[in-house]
Symmetry: C3
Subunit: 164 residues, 3 copies
């Protein structure tokens, strides 16, 4: 029972951490955001070198790019956490990220965060974060990698008339 | 206390199960998805017989229809779980489901999953799933049932000017 | 351990309460919704006096305005809860709120609920709720206050070419 309790508490702490990332990002509180990561964190949102960072300071510097949006909203869902050992964990979460340009145009991405976490003396921190996406609307054009999706079996035929 | 703990652990397991449904669906991992259900599961997304299935194999076969979309993203929210007995539970959850056609057009539904779950030797499984929806954008035309909503009382008048 | 368990159970009860608000609102079950609040609750969604209410009855009466929409869907995310004492708590949550007008037009807001909660003999209840928003699409024009966002440092330059 004590073990089950410890697991539930750890998962709750990690869930809070992942939510805080979104809250700090939408507020552009980049120092607070960087403090959610380990000092030696590795973070990548895509192949463009400007979308990657090593270390807290570099991460905060890199995410300054988000000021090119006038406003953003990052909403998490489907948070899955695996405690791999007493001090290490993995997490996968979905993010619905809405962005507004200075001219009022919007761009939306349906992304995923793939994380490795580590318990440090300060608490759980994100040690590695990689982003990919299930999809995005046409106005979102950042080169985030596509999440894997199985292809249909050979000969599969689309049903007709389901979509009205 | 042991009872409270057991309830928290069961709810966590069920939450994970519901999130896994979304993750497997967006990846079109239909065998993994079907394994989240009981062997005798009953699932229905609408009155069209092609939107219903009995049993895991039929469910996986039926959901092959999702390949008509180029990409999808299913994001859960408002997950509510009621443990009715040691081995049975109900759940209601909201789903924000984004779909992209091969031509790039998108269709979005704001749905709800209404589930009965059963604890099996393999763990919690979905025994029955019914879908309805609070709403959808005009491009989404699958005939999913409308969720109930109370009508206004007689004589109700809309306020003026609230919407700018 | 007993303390950790109590905290986890309280957080679960509060999460359920916040989800129920959304479910009752989309169903326009305003009496059930009002019962989630304390009898002396203070609720405000903006500076317009018609967007504020004191007490359960006034809240139910005020939210009757939501009938001007044909359908709505309120999806929570990023729920954060702080237990301040045995009987008081604060919560912040994100809400993705979709609204459909009678003419089929839609309006979406990316809001936040900022709550004070109190444990009453009937269980946890919302004593104060304030709403602000990270953003909204152009069709949503209710005067909800803007959430705070830090400005860029002096001399900050937007990166080029990140958006395709």
């Amino acid at each position: 029972m004590a073990e089950g309790m410890r697991e539930l508490l750890d998962r709750r702490l990690i869930e809070d951490l992942l939510a805080d990332y979104c809250r700090h990002l939408d507020r552009m509180a980049l120092e607070e955001l960087a403090a959610l990561f380990t000092a030696d964190c590795r973070v990548t949102y895509g192949a463009d070198p400007r979308l990657a960072a090593v270390g807290r300071e570099a991460l905060a510097g890199s995410l300054a790019r988000m000021w090119r949006w006038r406003r953003t909203a990052h909403h998490l869902a489907n948070v899955r956490i695996w405690l791999d050992s007493a001090d290490t964990a993995r997490a996968e979460s979905y993010v619905h990220a809405w962005h507004e340009r200075p001219d009022g145009g919007t761009a939306t991405v349906f992304g995923r965060y793939l994380d490795y976490l580590r318990r440090t003396p300060e608490g759980w921190r994100i040690a590695e974060r990689r982003m990919d996406m299930n999809g995005a609307d046409a106005a979102f054009r950042v080169a985030i990698p596509q999440a894997p999706r199985n292809p249909p079996p050979p000969g599969w035929q689309a049903p007709e008339g389901l979509d009205g």
